[in-house]
Every structure is written in C-alpha cells, then in structure tokens.
C-alpha cells in the first residue's frame, strides 16, 4: 500500500541523511522525498511517499519518531488529504508540434513559462497521476527534459501538523 508520511524535523545539518539513512538501513522503500524549511526556519517539513504492508508502515512511523531530531510524524494518507507535485517539462516545439504542445498544456491547465524558437518549458502542478497522464499524452520524442519535485501533502480540514 502506498502511504504519504509528513514529518517535522529540526532544521539541523545532517537531518536529511538521518531520515534517508533510516530507510536504506532498514530496507524501506522511498518513492519520493521532499524537504524544505517551514515558516519557522528552525524546522523543516518532509513529505515521504513510501509503500509497504501495515506492519512495515507502523514500523516506519515508529522508527521515524525515534530519531532524536524528529518532532512529529503523521501518516497523512490515513484520511482525507491533498497531494501536489510540481513538474517542469522542456519539450520540442517546432512546426505543427508547437501548437499541439500549447493545446496540450491548456488541456492540463499547465503553463508555458519559457519560450524559444524551438522549445517550451511547461509547468504543471497536480497529483502524481495527473503528471503521469500528461507525460503519457505527449509524444515521447518531443520530451527534451523532465524534472519532478516529488510529492507535497497536507491533511484536509482540521487535521493540522504543527508544533
């Protein structure tokens, strides 16, 4: 089962390697991991997309909590939540492909954020499946470069992850 785990961690050097080291040492999967400081610069928030049986996910959250610098851990995928990922795609945009590419961006509510005579850079935000669908929808030969941020997530409504 796929799970999205959010955590708050002290913004100290080496904090990221403690988390990633834990996953590799214990053989847990990491599908994606994002990290950046919060509004309080002494703290970072991480979103980890992982997968495993219920027992493994329980161990993952317990082991994360055990790290001395981890302040709070929540499996946000346990209930209603929102996930977003940013993807920036550089595509070839010449001849008839140029119009087609613009149309495709519009359909996916993506934005063209850089233009040259031969290429577009397209910014697209959404959940993972939307980004995957966009990649599937465009001609592979036209993709010059893709970068994805990994998933950010937040609980819906009253569910708040804060100190």
């Amino acid at each position: 089962m796929r799970h999205v785990i959010s955590l708050l961690i002290e913004n100290e050097s080496g904090a990221l390697s403690r988390v990633s080291g834990l996953f590799s040492a214990r053989g847990y999967n990491i599908e994606s991991l994002t990290v950046a400081p919060t509004e309080d610069a002494s703290m970072s928030r991480m979103t980890i997309v992982t997968s495993g049986s219920d027992d493994i996910i329980e161990q993952i959250t317990k082991q994360l909590n055990k790290l001395v610098e981890v302040i709070k851990v929540v499996d946000i995928s346990e209930s209603a939540h929102i996930e977003r990922e940013l993807m920036i795609t550089k595509v070839r945009a010449t001849g008839k492909d140029r119009d087609e590419m613009k149309r495709m961006a519009d359909i996916f509510r993506a934005r063209v954020i850089d233009v040259t005579d031969t290429s577009y850079v397209i910014e697209l935000t959404g959940n993972q499946s939307k980004l995957d669908a966009f990649i599937d929808a465009i001609e592979p030969a036209l993709i010059l470069e893709i970068v994805r941020s990994g998933v950010c997530g937040i609980g819906r409504g009253d569910r708040i992850l804060k100190v």
Partner: protein
C-alpha cells in the same frame, strides 16, 4: 569564567561526575588531553586500542548505573571505536564518546586523519553531534549525557574539531536540558496496565519473559516482587540474566537458541505471555511464524515503541519505563483482592515441572578431559556466585550464561546484540575499575581473547586483578559446532593453529599464568587464582575439543524443535 573548548570538555565531564574516561590520545585531541593533565577529578585509563576504550567504558556502564565515557582522536581513532560503539548501541548501553576532528577549516579537504565521523557513526549511535562553535560545547555535552541515559539508552557521539577545542568562551554548565523533539514516555498508560493485570490474573498458563530492559531500568527488585506476587514461572534472556534470581524456584533458565527446554516450552505453550524490556529477538523465539502458531495473549512492556509489534503482534502494548510500569502493576494488584487461581496455575506448574524433569542442562562429565560446563560450575562455586562475569562471543559465552547462576543484575556483561568477539577483557577492565575489590572474571576462548589481548598491558598499568578463564578448545567452537551440524563436518577455517603459550604470554606482560589440563586441577587452579587478590591470573583451560552447546534450536526453526543433547542428532 573564560575557558578553552578543551577545558570546557573536561569541566563538563566533572559536572557529570564522570570518574573514568577510557581513551587514547592523538593529534586532534591534544588540547583535550592537555586539559585532562591539569586536573585530577576525571581519571583517564590509557588503553592499547581504541576499540577496547569504548568496550571498557561500555563495561563500566553495564556494571554500574552510570554513563560510560570514551575519548578518541580523529580518523583511525574514530574508526577503531566503531565496533565498540555499535556493540553498545545493539545492547542499549548509555555512553558518551568524544572524538577529535580535524580543524573546521580542514573538514572536507581530505586532511590528515580526517574521516566523516558523524556520517560513519550515524547508523550505530542513538544520536551524534559535530560541534562547530566553542560556545556550543557545554550544551551539546549536556544533551549527550541526557540522551544517552534517558528513554531507551544508547551511545551518543560528540565530534569536536581541534580549533574548537582551542578557542575560548565563557563557561557555564546548563542545569537542565529540554528538547522539543525528544520526550520519552516514562509512565505507562493506566488503562493498558489495568488490561494487562486483568489478563494476568485470569491466565491459565502464564509466563513472564524479561530482557535487558529490566537491568537497564534497574527494576530487578520490582520484577522479583511482581513475579512472587503472581507466582508465575519466569525466564530471563541473555541480556536480562540477573533480572530475577536464577537460584529461585520460579526461574526456568534462559530462553532461546541455547535456552532451557522448560523455558522454551513454557514460552511456546503459554496462554498469557508478559514480555518486559525484551524484544522477541531471532535468537530468543526463533521463527516468528512458528511462534505465532500457538495462540496466546501477549503483553509487552517497553520504553521503545518501535520494539513493540516488530517481530510478533502484541495484544496489550505498554510503552513506558519498565520500573515505573512494574510499580504500577504491583500497586494495582495489591490494591485489589483478586489473585491468580492457585489450582489453575498449579496445574500449569505441574506441566512446567514435567518439562524440567528432562534435565536439559545435564552433561556428561569426565575424569580424563576438562568439560567447559564443569569449569563454569566450579567458577560459580569458587566465587560464591557473586562475581562480575564478562564473556566474549561463542560457545564459552553460552556455557557461562547457562551454568553461572546470576542472582543479581549487572553481574553478567556480554555482547548480546552485535555478538562482538573481543569484548570480554575490556568489559572486565571497566567492571573491575567500577568495583575495585570485587571478583571479576572474564570467561573467554582462545580465539576471542586474541581479539583484544593487547589490553593485558593496560591491566598491568592499572593493576587490574582480573581472572581470565580461557576455555581453550583450539577451535572457533561455535563455528565448528555449526559446521558439524549443518555443513557436513567440513571444518572450514575454524581451527586455531600456532597458538601462543597463554600462561607465558600473560607472564611476559607481568601477570600470572596457569595452564590446566586435568579435570582434577580445575577447582584448585580457580581457588588459587581468586586467592591472588592483587594479580591478574590467566587460566588457560585445555578443554574437550568436540564439546557442543546444548540445548539448541536451529536458526529459523521453532522453539519446540530443540536438540537437547548429542544423542538427539
């Protein structure tokens, strides 16, 4: 008061009432050693290899209720310390390791004796720090001691670059430490404890299974009280020996791979299992699938939530300090009039006693050749069962744990989790320094002892009258045993050739050495050794080469599939 970083380090150790630091100097810690030189409160024990420094500090901590402290230099000093740190980590031993680092400006430049100590130690410490500013030393060391001894204990490393130890700042030792990210739960959940007590009182086939957590939490007294109050059978794991008096009738011996028949059967066929400060380790329950086949309710008390429901599903988890939880259990039982049903528990005891009658610890003694079990029995007799016993890793470790009956906690020091050969002598050094005047014996083998034999020199320098009980079978015995049983008797590289004359070797270090070849001489040699109060005596027992450790549960098998003796093969 304005002090250098190095002076601050030593002042911090003084504030923490550290008696002994085990260490080895080098370039990056020269200022710290200079600060050490100028005072006499913290005493330094100069070892002969950094691994032994960490083990000795670890042994000191295991035999007392204090935090062990080791001091090593950068680069090879730190890498040599790794095995010691990992050993302490696996057994949750509270320690602070201070390591020197190259100057901050040189970090990342591949400087002489530079290694990423914080990176290398990260997977085998509870936490670690690189101190980049002299003003952070005092708070960091305060945090290190706090982290090491609270919650589930463990080693904490503080890496200090040379320039930081040289810089100066105002010193004030923080009185308290608070960390928003670290607040271990001490008190167990009242409702959960009530549920557990209810289950225990209604149990038909109850069993108590305790581990190192009881020793670390100094809860032997509470455990004994609860066990007697309930009248249930109890087993202590390898790490938990001495948590409950081994000479008591309710004690069934050790469980697990080389545990007793009665302890393993009672674990397996219990209907309510109370696990305290233990972790259902693979050497204890064998195959978890086999263990789960028999239905039972499991109550698990542990300070570390990640130990609960890790290998087996638990019905009543109780997160908290073992001592506090046991006190609450006792309080609840004493406050109520309900007691376990005497008849029901009596029927269970009849079954347990039937298992006991198999006498799984019996061995064939000999007049011709020394049996290792016999040596340990005699060691127990000669020391009145009251010595601090350290061991290395292998067959001798199992025989010591099986045949020396520990009635008190913190008397048995061994590497249970990591299984580190070479810990025995440094553990004995730590235990002897912590208990000057007490009997300390290191039970070892001719292979293990050679992994830190250089420490005989340290023992001479610090006049440590340790008795080394070397069970010499000219084999890596446990490896040989597995090769005999599971690898078609192909004894690949498990023999020991070109051994030194250990008695003479000990003598060359200025100690006393005996070589004992006959069973009739065992007791006399032990008595003479322990009679020499001021001498380290190396007792080199030539034992039966082919003796195996029984009972035995093969790796990956279930607790009920035991080989009880050579006849079962």
């Amino acid at each position: 008061m304005v002090l250098t970083g190095a002076e601050i380090v030593i002042r911090c150790l003084q504030e923490e009432k550290v008696e002994y630091v085990f260490g080895y100097p080098g370039g990056a810690v020269l200022f710290i050693y200079d600060a050490l030189f100028n005072q006499d409160k913290v005493r330094h024990v100069l070892v002969r290899h950094e691994q032994a420094a960490v083990h000795a500090a670890d042994g000191f901590a295991r035999s007392t209720e204090t935090v062990g402290v080791a001091l090593v230099t950068s680069g090879p000093g730190a890498t040599n310390a790794i095995t010691g740190i990992a050993t302490a980590y696996c057994d949750s031993i509270p320690m602070v390791i201070i390591s020197g680092q190259v100057p901050t400006a040189a970090i990342g430049q591949d400087a002489f004796q530079e290694v990423d100590t914080v990176g290398i130690t990260r997977p085998c410490v509870k936490h670690n720090y690189l101190v980049k500013d002299v003003r952070d030393i005092a708070t960091t060391i305060k945090k290190a001691f706090y982290l090491a001894k609270t919650g589930r204990p463990g080693p904490v490393l503080v890496d200090i670059p040379k320039d930081v130890s040289m810089h100066k700042c105002e010193f004030e030792y923080p009185k308290e430490v608070s960390m928003r990210s670290y607040n271990p739960v001490l008190k167990g959940h009242q409702g959960q404890i009530r549920k557990a007590v209810q289950l225990l009182l209604e149990a038909k086939r109850p069993m108590i299974y305790t581990g190192g957590g009881v020793v670390l939490s100094d809860a032997a007294e509470q455990l004994t009280k609860l066990t007697r109050l309930l009248g249930f059978p109890i087993t202590n794991t390898l790490m938990g020996l001495g948590g409950y008096p081994a000479s008591d009738r309710q004690y069934l011996g050790m469980p697990g791979m080389h545990g007793t028949y009665e302890a393993n059967m009672a674990m397996h066929y219990s209907d309510v299992l109370l696990a305290i400060g233990a972790r259902f380790d693979d050497r204890v329950i064998g195959d978890p699938a086999n263990f789960a086949e028999e239905p039972r309710k499991i109550i698990h008390v542990d300070i570390d939530p990640s130990s609960i429901s890790k290998r087996v599903r638990v019905d009543v988890p109780i997160v908290g300090d073992v001592k506090e939880v046991l006190e609450e259990m006792i309080r609840q039982i004493e406050a109520s009039s309900a007691r376990p049903d005497v008849e029901t528990v009596g029927t269970w005891w009849k079954q347990v006693d039937e298992w006991r009658r198999r006498e799984c610890m019996k061995f064939k003694n000999s007049d011709e050749i020394i049996k290792p079990q016999f040596v340990i029995q005699k060691l127990w007799e000669v020391t009145g069962g009251d010595a601090f016993i350290t061991s290395d890793v292998g067959q001798h470790q199992m025989w010591a744990s099986q045949y020396y009956r520990f009635d008190k906690p913190r008397r048995w020091l061994n590497s249970g989790g990591l299984g580190t050969m070479g810990v025995g002598l440094p553990y004995a050094m730590g235990a002897q320094l912590a208990h000057l005047g007490s009997q300390v014996a290191c039970v070892t083998g001719e292979a293990s002892i050679q992994m830190n034999i250089q420490e005989l020199s340290t023992c001479k320098q610090f006049r440590l009258p340790i008795k080394i009980v070397n069970l010499n079978n000219r084999y890596l015995g446990m490896v040989r045993q597995w090769q005999q049983l599971f690898h078609g008797e192909r004894y690949s590289e498990s023999y020991m050739d070109s051994l030194p004359d250990f008695a003479k070797l000990a003598e060359s270090y200025g100690h006393v050495g005996f070589r004992i070849e006959k069973p009739a001489d065992v007791e006399g040699a032990l008595r003479e050794a322990f009679g020499r109060k001021n001498d380290l005596v190396f007792l080199d027992f030539q034992i039966d080469q082919t003796e195996n450790v029984y009972p035995m549960v093969q790796g990956g098998k279930g607790l009920t599939e035991m080989i009880l003796s050579a006849e079962d093969l």
